[in-house]
């Protein structure tokens, strides 16, 4: 048994748990009789499983001995008995065994731990090495990638292409024998070349800059010289003014006008140029002037850049102000918008047409910027003061003076169809409300300004100046004719109101020497009054009358007979003949509709324009018509009483006119035609 082995060694044992067997052996040599007891060596020999069995056995023995002791003690044995002592000795041996086993177990454990620890150490070291290496690898990889990504500045420089480089660069730089093979060298060479070139160009640039400075200085000098000339020229111009006037070549004036004309809006400019040209070439009595505020016009033309800034500033100011006071009402805003839309250009043209008798027709042309139309206002100034003829009030009224210069050109509505949409936006229903303020937008005015709107029939291809030129002569002639006609009518009216029919000497041959019927009244009527008359309905139905015409009532009387004549005067008189409608009040009422003879009288007065218009330009037309009316009434009355065979007493109108026959044909027409110079009346 092991306990025996242990006992044997008991007397000389040097317990040595730690330390290597080698040192122990060296000590063992020193001490011959000392046996080195190395439990570790022993440990390796022993089998743990066996030790464990031993342990169990020992525990069992111990338990058994204890039990025996117990038995013995309980059975009353003495304390120091031999059996118990025996058993005590055995127990203590067992205890010693157990203690050894315990020791061995501890030692095994320690040994195991040490081994593990060692292994771990080794593994750690290796692990660290691995980590180091990996780290280094990563580092190196990063460095490599950095190196690979490196872009040198040289790549940002644009170099000439290789072919060019080889062509242009001198040999010492390009070194083709080297560079053709070596890319690095090639790039270096190219960079060198680039540097050379840049140096060269920089020098050139400096030289050019220097030259430019010199030339700039030269220019400055010359400019100063020129500006010093300007005052001298002005002096000369001033001095030449009297000469200009003397020679009547107003260059100065024309220059000034041209200067101002630059600021005119295009339609007015076209009108100015064409009118001035026409005036110079054909019509010496026509003159054109520009009037208005030039500064405002300049301000307007600078509109795009400056006013935008102004607007933004003023907007900011306005907003500030608005927050302080109440916002203006919608109506006022709309009103402002309307005013803005109907704004006139500050410059306007004034065209003066002078007539032979000294009266002048002033035409003022305005341009409405937003609506792109021209309007005209008129004024007539006469050499003599026109005494008031009551019925002539409308004749020279500036509102209607130029009405219907061309047929159906009333000037009440804007001729530009685009304006319709503009008006809708600001709630203007019709332009006619503003006509008295802004002037009349006649179609001929637009044509003179070169403005053509598609609603005008779209026949002519002309635009701008050509359009204006094609209409200028005709329009000016019409304007002058209109003025003269109106003035003539004015004079005629004033004498008609005094019951005198002014017949000029050239037209005297149309009428017999003695005319008994006389004009007793000449008054003006309104369109309303005209339509209410009974004997004019046929004219209204035939559509020969419109609201822009002038209406008059003439009353011719002889004895008890009264002839009412309603006259329709077209604004285009004397191009359009006045139209007479008759109604006779004599023994009942007769009109042209009911009686053939009155119808014949109407035709006598209305139809024969060639006879009645007199010498050109035919301004005698109306008065001749009235005179003929009187003559016809004479004939009518005198021949009428012829028919009655004296059964009603003495005739009211004795027969004075010489007639061939007093009644002809089934309708028994009277002889209304006067034959000159024989002086008798016959039928047509």
């Amino acid at each position: 048994m092991s306990s025996d082995a242990v006992k044997k060694r008991k007397p000389k044992v040097v317990r040595n748990e730690a330390g290597t067997p080698e040192t122990k052996r060296s000590r063992a040599e020193g001490d011959q009789e000392v046996r080195v007891y190395n439990e570790e060596v022993e440990l390796e020999d022993r089998d743990p499983q066996q030790d464990y069995m031993l342990y169990k056995d020992t525990c069992a023995d111990l338990a058994k001995l204890m039990a025996e002791i117990q038995e013995l003690k309980s059975s009353g044995a003495k304390v120091g008995s031999v059996e118990i002592e025996e058993r005590h000795r055995q127990c203590s041996v067992h205890f010693i065994t157990l203690k050894k086993l315990n020791r061995l177990a501890h030692m095994r454990l320690k040994k195991g731990r040490d081994q593990t620890h060692e292994a771990k150490q080794r593994v750690d070291v290796l692990h660290l090495q691995l980590q180091n290496l990996l780290y280094e690898v990563m580092h190196l990889q990063k460095e490599i990638s950095k190196c690979l990504e490196f872009k040198s500045q040289h790549e940002e420089i644009e170099l000439v292409s290789e072919e060019e480089f080889f062509q242009e660069a001198p040999a010492e730089i390009s070194r083709p024998h080297v560079t053709r093979d070596d890319n690095h060298q090639l790039t270096l060479a190219r960079l060198d070349w680039e540097l050379e070139q840049r140096k060269r160009l920089a020098e050139q640039y400096k030289m050019s800059l220097a030259r430019k400075e010199k030339i700039q200085k030269a220019i400055e000098q010359k400019r100063e010289y020129l500006s010093s000339l300007q005052p001298g020229l002005q002096n000369i111009m001033q001095a030449s003014l009297p000469v200009q006037e003397y020679l009547s070549m107003p260059f100065e004036q024309m220059q000034k006008q041209a200067e101002v004309a630059r600021h005119l809006p295009p339609p007015l400019y076209v009108l100015l140029v064409q009118a001035a040209a026409y005036g110079q070439a054909c019509d010496k009595t026509l003159s054109v002037n520009i009037s208005g505020d030039v500064d405002e016009a300049k301000a307007l033309s600078r509109r795009p850049e400056d006013s935008q800034e102004d607007e933004s500033d003023s907007d900011a100011e306005e907003e500030q102000q608005n927050t302080k006071r109440r916002r203006a009402t919608v109506g006022v805003q709309l009103e402002d918008k309307r005013k803005a839309m109907l704004r006139r250009h500050p410059l306007s043209l004034c065209v003066d047409l002078k007539c032979k008798d000294g009266s002048v027709l002033h035409l003022f042309f305005y341009y409405l910027m937003n609506l792109n139309i021209l309007t005209v206002k008129t004024k007539v100034s006469t050499a003599t003061d026109l005494s008031g003829a009551v019925s002539a009030g409308e004749l020279l009224n500036s509102e209607s003076l130029l009405n219907c210069l061309y047929a159906s050109d009333h000037g009440k509505e804007t001729p530009n169809p685009a304006n319709r949409y503009q008006f809708d936006k600001v709630g203007i229903t019709t332009f006619a409300d503003y006509v008295s303020d802004l002037g009349h937008p006649y179609v001929w005015v637009q044509k003179l300004g070169g403005l053509q709107f598609s609603s005008d029939g779209a026949q002519s291809e002309l635009r701008g100046s050509a359009l204006s030129a094609s209409h200028m002569e005709k329009t000016m002639k019409l304007l002058r004719g209109r003025l003269q006609a109106r003035l003539a009518l004015h004079k005629q009216f004033s004498s008609l109101e005094h019951s005198i029919i002014p017949v000029s000497s050239e037209c005297q041959h149309l009428f017999p020497a003695k005319v008994v019927s006389g004009l007793t009244r000449w008054t003006m009527m309104s369109y309303q009054e005209f339509t209410e008359l009974g004997f004019v309905q046929h004219v209204l139905k035939a559509g020969l009358v419109c609201e822009t015409d002038l209406f008059f009532m003439a009353v011719v009387e002889r004895g008890t007979a009264r002839l009412l004549a309603a006259v329709v005067l077209n604004p285009r008189y004397p191009e359009v003949m006045p139209l007479f409608s008759l109604s006779l009040h004599w023994k009942g009422e007769r009109s042209g509709r009911t009686e053939d003879n009155l119808r014949a009288m109407e035709s006598e007065v209305n139809v024969f324009r060639a006879e009645l218009q007199g010498p050109r330009p035919g301004l005698q037309l109306l008065t001749n018509q009235i005179q003929r009316l009187c003559v016809c009434l004479d004939v009518y009355l005198e021949t009428e009483s012829q028919v009655c065979d004296g059964s009603e007493g003495p005739r009211e109108f004795p027969r004075e006119k010489m007639c061939l026959r007093t009644a002809r044909g089934p309708s028994r027409l009277k002889p209304f035609k006067y034959n000159h110079p024989q002086g008798f009346f016959s039928h047509r």
Binding site: S647, R664, S667, S682
Partner: protein, 311 residues
């Protein structure tokens, strides 16, 4: 415009009208009366100026249209006119009739043309040769209207002097003279004494003008009935049992032989100068009237106005 005269073509399908401007217009009745007539078919198919002065008389023979105006008589061929060619066939200047623009009326019978004019005489012209055969003198003022009694071959003429003269056409002698204004029942002194319309139907004669329209029995030479029409009548015709007359006033008067006015049909013109009946053609049996208006009223049923042609 006043329409003074009308005449229908020999075939009855066309109407020629003359106005105071000397123009003659040709209307196509067949177009105007067809069911699909439009406004255009009421306008003339041909319109030409025939004379200087008014065309007071138009007359249709079998082949020609005769028109009178301003001291001349012109003849137009109907065949040409229908083809819309207004070519003058022949013109006869009745210078002796004229003192210029005088009023001529004519009538035709056999081959002679009876012309009455401003020189107070009636001339008879041979239409073949154009030679004036004879003159009937007797009136003291110009002649308004002429009429022919076929049975007795007598010419009746009415004039401004108020006398109706009856002439024998074979002997060219006056047979009777009736001064209408001397008869109290007819006379209307306020209007005058001229006779402007004459019509005859065998034994009966209608005459009117200044004096009232009256029906005369020719054998007894006395007025049997006087028609109470207010205005002066300018043309009157016998039609079946009725007497139709037009004149001052915008209506056509239908009267009965007894002297009553049966109806007055209103028309467009304010007074009427001429009335014409298209009896030759049964298809287009219409009555047309014209007067002091450019419209010629057409009556398909004589009792009311159907439509108007526009000169």
């Amino acid at each position: 415009m006043s329409v003074f005269s009308q005449s229908f073509s020999p075939c009855g399908r066309f109407l020629a009208a003359g106005n105071n401007y000397g123009e003659i217009a040709l209307f196509s009745l067949s177009a105007a009366l067809s069911p699909d007539a439009s406004e255009g078919s009421q306008k003339p198919i041909l319109n030409f100026t025939a004379h200087d002065g008014p065309v007071f008389s138009l007359l249709s023979t079998d082949t020609h249209l005769l028109s009178a105006g301003n001291g001349e008589i012109s003849a137009w061929s109907w065949a040409e006119l229908i083809k819309k060619v207004s070519q003058l066939f022949s013109k006869c200047m009745c210078i002796f009739l004229g003192l210029g623009k005088m009023y001529i009326s004519f009538h035709c019978c056999d081959n002679s043309l009876i012309v009455g004019g401003g020189d107070n005489n009636i001339h008879i012209m041979d239409m073949e040769t154009g030679i004036f055969k004879s003159v009937l003198k007797g009136h003291t003022d110009y002649i308004h209207c002429l009429c022919f009694k076929e049975r007795e071959e007598e010419i009746l003429s009415g004039g401004e002097d108020g006398a109706v003269r009856i002439w024998d056409s074979r002997t060219n002698r006056p047979v009777h003279c009736i001064e209408v204004f001397k008869y109290e029942e007819c006379a209307r002194p306020q209007f005058g004494k001229w006779i402007s319309c004459l019509a005859t139907d065998s034994d009966w004669m209608l005459c009117g003008g200044g004096p009232s329209l009256s029906l005369w029995h020719l054998r007894s030479m006395s007025p049997t009935s006087v028609f109470p029409l207010p205005g002066c009548q300018r043309e009157a015709v016998f039609h079946q049992d009725l007497i139709m007359s037009v004149g001052e006033g915008p209506y056509v008067s239908h009267c009965l032989h007894g002297g009553t006015v049966k109806a007055q049909i209103p028309c467009t013109p304010s007074s009427l100068n001429t009335l014409a009946l298209n009896l030759k053609n049964t298809e287009h049996r219409v009555m047309t009237v014209g007067g002091s208006s450019h419209q010629i009223d057409v009556f398909t049923n004589f009792s009311y106005r159907a439509f108007s042609l526009s000169f």
